[in-house]
Amino acid sequence: MSADFLNLIEVILNGLMAGVMYALVALGFVLIFKASGIFNYAQGVMALFAALTLVGLQQGQVPFAHLIKAVTGLDVHHWWSMPTLLALLVTVGVMILFAFLVERLILKHLVNQEPIILFMATIGLAYFMEGFGDLMWGSEIKKLDIGIPSGGSFWLEEATIGWAAEGERYFGMYIDLLDVWATVIAVLLVVSLMLFSQYTKTGRALRAVADDHQAALSVGISLRTIWVIVWSIAGFVALVAGIMWGSKLGVQFSLSLIALKALPVLMLGGFTSIPGAIVGGLIIGVGEKVFEFAIGPMIGGATENWFAYVLALLFLVFRPQGLFGEKIIERV
């Protein structure tokens, strides 16, 4: 095999793994959109907030330390560093509480409003959470480590180093273990979500609400309960995404911008399709890496910033309903 070919495989593998991460973020959007028709602008900030909470608990930060100091003059900034597993559980609890509050304080009052109003509400929510997260945990960049292995896989490098053709310079394939683990975890998460929604009463209720609100009510499903559940699941997905991206890039404001990566994925996959979010994520992940690898050097690189959007725009023009979305036919 030629070294170029091996490099291409490496690029594709890395693209697939990046794609899984994009898909994970997009999944959070799709879940909420399907159940309530809301485009949740705050999905990215939810990932940031979840990661901040996790790090904060893990490192034993005192929440609102700055505020406490400003008000009472007490300088408390450290109490008890929770073991990782406990910190994870508490963070999940916090995200469920968050879902509950969102339903109580926002959704409940906006039932039957125009989608644009709900969208605006989530913009407000995003900025509020961003500020709230800062106030609670501070705004400095934090390192997140929950024990997921990271760094290049030596095993793979060793195993592949001899694959190149005789006489070519090749140092083996480079794949970050963190990406591998992230992929495994994301796949497990998606599979369990699918099983839950297929084979349980609550899962069926989730699908029912996604299909038809009136019919769902008529069989006794409370929309408000379902919304709490859906936002909890989206919160959990945000936590997982926050952990993956946070472990890679550190926990900081820019984490919330991963939502921007999900946007083209959604345009590709459609806003209502879970398989669409996954396949869309993979296409964008692989597409942008391969494009950068093959075409990037010819046009000065840095194509990863815009490639996904151009691809999504092309899709919008030729297939506005997305890969798996139902064709939109206006009733006349």
């Binding site: 349980t200 899962g203 299909d211 769902a216 008529s218 499903i221």
Partner: protein, 275 residues
């Protein structure tokens, strides 16, 4: 017109079914949408075990009445009494939990789901296992799922829809969708079943099947049924009593025979102009 406000005691019909006391009573219901009065001061009752038809021309307020009964609409005026107790304002999903199931005029199925899952969703009010047990597929949740699945299979047999068990309902022909929707409502084992034009758009054969199912449900399970229907032949065959609406008002109430010979009803159907 002949009044049918019968005694509270039980009566036995010609075909041997028992009709009991009043299950639900509408008292002076008025429902407005902005300037439109969809229902104007309507009172009638539904007795235990009967098939009660609601008929009337287009826009008469029939569907609105069903929507009031199952809580989609909240009337500006009037009360609903259930078994002698005044019902407080409830949300639709709470009313479902009280044993009222329904179908819709414009089929409202869960399009992405199979026939089986649609009907299974109809069991929602009967399943109690908490979500965390469902999530790990724990013993009680699993047993509950299996038991309810068996009940759903019986409904599928009853409605003769075994061949489409696993078909996503969006792909089924119209008549079959109506049948699945009936199945979903039956799955709740309701004490009151509301059917909004269960036979609209069906061919003769499909109508006969649907009529048979409705009669069997009423006969075998004693389910009380309130149904809206335009086909007078079907109404005459199925119903014990008929209430007739026109422009949001009640213009007739009685046995099918009474109602058919009532001048006001005939006028409404022939389109005699209102003055």
């Amino acid at each position: 017109m002949g009044s049918m406000e019968g005694p509270m005691s039980e009566t036995v019909t010609a075909d041997g079914r028992t009709i009991g006391g009043v299950l639900m009573e509408m008292r002076g219901i008025t429902l407005r949408f902005g300037g439109v009065t969809a229902i104007k001061d309507i009172s009638f009752d539904i007795r235990e075990g009967e098939i009660r038809a609601i008929i009337g021309p287009n826009g008469a307020g029939k569907s609105s009445m069903l929507n009031v009964i199952n809580g989609f609409y909240h009337p500006q005026d009037g009360e609903i009494w259930v078994r002698g107790k005044k019902r407080r304002a409830l949300r639709p999903h709470q009313i479902a939990h009280q044993g009222i199931a329904r179908t819709f005029q414009n089929i409202a199925l869960f399009k992405g789901m199979t026939t089986l899952d649609n009907i299974m969703t109809g069991r929602f009010t009967k399943m109690r296992a908490p979500w965390w047990q469902q999530a790990v597929w724990a013993g009680p949740a699993e047993r509950e799922e299996t038991a309810n699945r068996e009940i759903v299979e019986r409904i599928i047999d009853f409605l003769e829809i075994q061949p489409i068990r696993k078909t996503p309902v969006g792909r089924l022909p119209y008549g079959m969708q109506k049948r699945v929707e009936l199945g979903r409502a039956l799955a709740a084992e309701p004490k009151l079943l509301l059917l909004d034009e269960p036979m609209a758009g069906m061919n003769v054969e499909e109508k006969e099947d649907m009529s048979r199912f409705i009669l069997d449900v009423n006969d075998e399970f004693g389910t009380t049924i309130a149904l809206i229907e335009h086909d007078m032949g079907v109404v005459m065959d199925l119903s014990d009593r008929v209430v007739v609406l026109d422009y949001g008002q009640k213009i007739g109430d009685g046995t099918p025979a009474d109602v058919r010979n009532d001048q006001a009803v005939i006028d409404a159907y022939l389109g005699v102009p209102h003055d």
